[in-house]
């Protein structure tokens, strides 16, 4: 399987040789918009959307014009060349990267169009918003197209920057600034892992090019492979909001909703999945079994964390964010399964990209109509006011909970099946977690649907935070059209993709390894649907039949309280890292002030003091100077005499 990677790499030709344009177009858009400043206010959003749509068109052309049985390498220029460290700036166009490119540019285009409508409240800054979005798209494309881990790292940091800028979009608000900082810092934790993995690769394999690294890993010792695998996983956890670095992703919802949809649901947060899938030749090695197990555990833990917390939150976008966390947990679990799961992880990534982007855009549409109200307890009964939003959202919802023959059904069931297919108790544990997660997902998504769109309109008579009445209305066409397209994708995408994608990806990540668990594939499908139906049913029984209070109930069980507090994830982070960090810093500051500064200042003070005392000899009295001159002369004469006569 790994042999397909080392061989079959050819220089790019034809449409693939123009792949650099994919990066260049959005980068150019970002540059023009950022440098052009206010002058581009009028048409900035059009340029921003245009570059991404053009990139999408180019991606489609590349997709159809290239033979993906092989991997195409496009060398652009020598990038870093220091002694042994030679890194080309090059692109790698293969089945995996083109899949991601199509997702990024496709969903990206839709969200750019949506943003034109969504950001029309902020005309003055809309241009900058589109510049950042373009920057993000460019960096994300570099991440998936780069042909070495260093180019990937470049794009990785680029999307981190764009994410930081966009989370902190509402700069004036404290929570946005804090959330941006939090995201940036927690991402850095993961980035350290990725960077260390890259260092290890260079140290041991002498290169960071995919082809050379993957050709060399086969002979590497187990310890090295496990180390690299775990470090890469750390990077993936940081970027994809996986346990234990999941806390930043819900806070990242402080950014505008299109950002949440594009970056924090559909594309950037899946970079970790891409990283592990791209590194599949490493993870597939027999030496990497332990690393793979850790990947699976992380994925499974994250599924449960995301689902449990998602059940407790009352914030529309944060529920979706925790849903994203748990869905990415599915993907990580899938790619952790090894050859049995890579393709399904990617499949779920694509379908999730569609329906989660659609769900976020629906949420954005609702908030756009409701004066940015995100508290679902203050919504309700909106299906009549916003029919298009309601129906597209419902389709996304059905896709997510795995309604039969919608996209989530195909992708998630494959993952559950593959997890159950593991040998021994592992299969039962991971499969069980995946099934439980499916039920919980159905539960909290149904709760969301009922509280937002169905039931009584609890917002009548309430006022929003800025003191206005609520006047819900359907969103403009630029917003509804992308939602409709994404809804169509959510419905149909899974079926089509599950047919073609695993085979298409074979040259990049290898054959799908059939698994045969205790249950047959059909049985698993029925079981999953049944569990989802039970979850949804319970949610209906709890939330659908009785009136929900506008204020969130305070007298709740410990479990709910824990879930509301992010299962104490933030407390854990603070206790484990923030406070010891603060203490360490304080201690270091103390040592620095007293020790280092004390030494330096002590020397200075000693010199100054002794100079001050020596200074006293400069009395200004000529006669004391004359005295010392006479003394000096006597010394000199005495010395001369001693030399002369003694």
């Amino acid at each position: 399987m790994t042999t397909t990677l080392a061989e079959g790499v050819v220089d790019a030709s034809g449409a693939a040789s123009a792949a650099w344009l994919l990066l260049a177009l959005p980068a150019l858009g970002a540059a023009v918009l950022l440098i052009g400043g206010r002058r581009t206010d009028k048409w900035g959003h059009l340029l921003g959307s245009g570059t991404v749509i053009a990139a999408f068109a180019l991606a489609v052309v590349t997709f159809f014009g290239t033979d993906f049985a092989q991997q195409h390498n496009l060398h652009l220029w020598d990038w870093i060349s220091v002694n042994q460290l030679v890194i080309d700036f090059g692109l790698r166009i293969d089945a995996l990267s083109i899949t991601f490119v199509l997702l990024i540019t496709g969903v990206g285009s839709l969200i750019h169009i949506y943003s034109i409508g969504y950001m029309n409240h902020e005309l003055r800054d809309r241009r900058r918003f589109f510049a950042y979005l373009n920057l993000f798209v460019s960096a994300m494309l570099l991440l998936v197209l780069g042909n070495s881990f260093v180019t990937l790292y470049f794009g990785w940091e680029g999307v981190g920057l764009a994410s930081y800028l966009l989370i902190g979009w509402y700069q004036g608000k404290d929570f946005a600034a804090t959330a941006a900082k939090k995201a940036f810092l927690m991402n850095r934790v993961g980035d350290v892992g990725l960077a260390l993995a890259i260092f290890l690769m260079f140290k041991n394999f002498g290169s960071t090019q995919y082809t050379e690294v993957f050709a060399a890993v086969g002979d590497a010792p187990t310890g090295l492979i496990v180390a690299i695998g775990l470090l890469l996983l750390l990077g993936a956890c940081g970027k994809s909001g996986q346990f234990p670095l999941q806390a930043w992703l819900p806070d990242a919802m402080a950014g505008p909703t299109p950002v949440s949809a594009l970056i924090h649901a559909a594309t950037m947060v899946t970079a970790g999945v891409y990283l592990i899938a791209r590194s599949s030749p490493i993870y597939s090695l027999p030496q990497a079994a332990d690393a793979r197990l850790v990947v699976m555990i992380i994925g499974a833990v994250t599924i449960l964390i995301g689902c449990v917390i998602g059940c407790a939150y009352d914030d529309f976008k944060k529920v979706l964010a925790y849903s994203t966390v748990s869905q990415i947990g599915y993907m990580i679990l899938a790619v952790g399964l090894g050859p049995a799961g890579y393709a399904f992880g990617i499949l779920h990534l694509i379908t999730h990209g569609f329906f989660k982007a659609g769900l976020f855009l629906g949420a954005g549409s609702v908030m756009h109509a409701m004066n940015d109200e995100g508290d679902i307890r203050r919504l309700g009964g909106l299906w009549k006011k916003m029919p298009i939003t309601f129906w597209t959202w419902t389709l996304g919802y059905l896709a997510l909970i795995g309604f039969p023959f919608l996209s989530g059904f195909f992708s998630k069931d494959e993952i559950i099946n593959a997890a159950l297919g593991q040998e021994g108790p592992r299969g039962w544990i991971f499969g069980g977690v995946a099934l439980l997660g499916a039920g919980l997902t159905a539960f909290y998504m149904t709760r969301l649907l009922i509280l937002v769109f169905l039931g009584k309109a609890r917002w009548t008579g309430l006022k929003s935070a800025d003191g206005k009445d609520y006047h819900p209305h359907e969103s403009p066409t630029t917003m509804t059209v992308p939602m409709i397209i994404l809804a169509v994708g959510s419905v149909a995408g899974g079926f089509i993709l599950s047919m073609v994608l695993p085979d298409f990806l074979v040259p990049a990540i290898g054959e799908v390894q059939e698994t045969h668990g205790a249950l047959s594939h059909t049985m698993v499908g029925i079981l999953a649907v049944a569990i989802s139906a039970i979850g949804a049913g319970i949610a209906y029984l709890i939330f659908g039949r009785s009136e929900q209070p506008v204020e969130r109930p305070q007298r709740v069980t410990f479990a709910v309280r824990a879930a509301r507090a992010d299962l104490f994830g933030n407390h854990l982070n603070e206790a484990l890292f923030a406070r010891p960090g603060t203490w360490l810093t304080r201690a270091l500051v103390y040592v620095d002030n007293r020790g280092v500064d004390g030494l330096v200042n002590g020397i200075a003070a000693g010199l100054g003091g002794s100079s001050g005392r020596l200074r006293r000899t400069q009395t200004g009295f000529v006669r004391s100077y004359a005295l010392s001159m006479l003394g000096g002369s006597i010394l000199v004469v005495a010395a001369l005499l001693v030399v002369r006569f003694a």
Binding site: T619, S624, L627, L630, I634
Partner: protein, 283 residues
């Protein structure tokens, strides 16, 4: 110690070479010169110091003559003692006559250390002389000063204008420079201070080059006292602050405030009813 012994041996060896006349001259003039030096250092009055120095110089001049240096001896007496020391005296009369030194030494340890170092210097020089004069014989200047030849003055002149011509010419430059320097240091141009005429001053005042066009008000105008510490009063009875010098403590103004107020009529007044007859008396 050994140095002194060697020196004594030397003296014993060479004592035969000196004539008795010269010995007498030395033993008279030497102590006088030494006494003059000590007197100069220890005399409280600067003029006395100068006179003691004159005494030393005269003796030294005589000693030069005794030592077969008649030209230098006469120059010492005429130029050094006659001219330079008189210059000293002139300047003393101009400047330092009153400034007799106080007995108290302000620099701690100065006198002690000066004495220690002086003794050390003397010991060093004596030791050096004793070691270096070992075996030196007295050549005498009989030939150079022979009456038959050009003599002492003639020979010195020949040396100055032959071997030492260039240094001699340099001394002329030195003397001219010194003369010019002394002129520059001593010259005071009273006209460059730029005293203005009254007319110029008035014009400058009204052009605003001074703080105010008029002179400051004098103290004591309308005041209760002739003291300069008493501020002038303005026609409304208030204090004119400019009339008080900043150098004078103005508490006098505060002290006199009550008096000033009574003069100005702004102080506490007797009630008008005080003059009216009491009611019971009226009845």
């Amino acid at each position: 110690m050994s140095a002194a012994l060697i020196l004594a041996q030397d003296l014993a060896q060479q004592s035969a070479t000196l004539s008795t006349g010269e010995a007498v001259a030395f033993w008279v003039l030497g102590p006088v010169a030494l006494a003059g030096g000590l007197g100069m250092v220890f005399a409280r009055n600067a003029v006395h110091s100068a006179l003691f120095l004159v005494m030393t110089m005269l003796s030294l001049g005589c000693l030069y003559i005794v030592q077969q240096a008649p030209f230098l001896g006469l120059v010492q007496i005429v130029v050094y003692t006659g001219a330079i020391m008189m210059l000293f005296l002139f300047v003393l009369m101009l400047v330092g006559r009153d400034a007799s030194d106080s007995v108290v030494e302000v620099l701690r340890g100065q006198r002690l250390w000066a004495g220690v170092l002086g003794v050390g210097l003397a010991v060093l020089i004596v030791a050096a002389l004793a070691r270096s004069l070992e075996g030196v014989s007295d050549q005498g200047l009989a030939e150079e000063n022979a009456a038959t030849g050009p003599g002492n003055v003639g020979n010195i002149g020949r040396l100055i204008f032959t071997d030492y011509l260039f240094p001699f010419e340099l001394t002329s430059a030195l003397l001219i420079t010194a003369a010019v320097g002394a002129m520059i240091l001593g010259y005071v141009d009273r006209h460059t201070r730029g005293r203005k005429t009254q007319k110029e001053l008035v014009e400058a005042r009204f052009r605003g080059e001074h703080d105010r066009p008029s002179p400051l008000p004098g103290p004591g105008v309308f005041a209760t006292s002739h003291s300069v510490a008493t501020p002038a009063l303005l026609p409304d009875g208030s204090v004119a602050p400019e009339s008080l010098s900043r150098l004078i403590d103005s508490t006098a103004a505060d002290k006199l405030d009550a008096e000033r107020k009574s003069v100005a009529g702004t102080g506490p007044q007797a009630e008008s009813r005080a003059l009216a007859p009491r009611e019971e008396e009226a009845e």
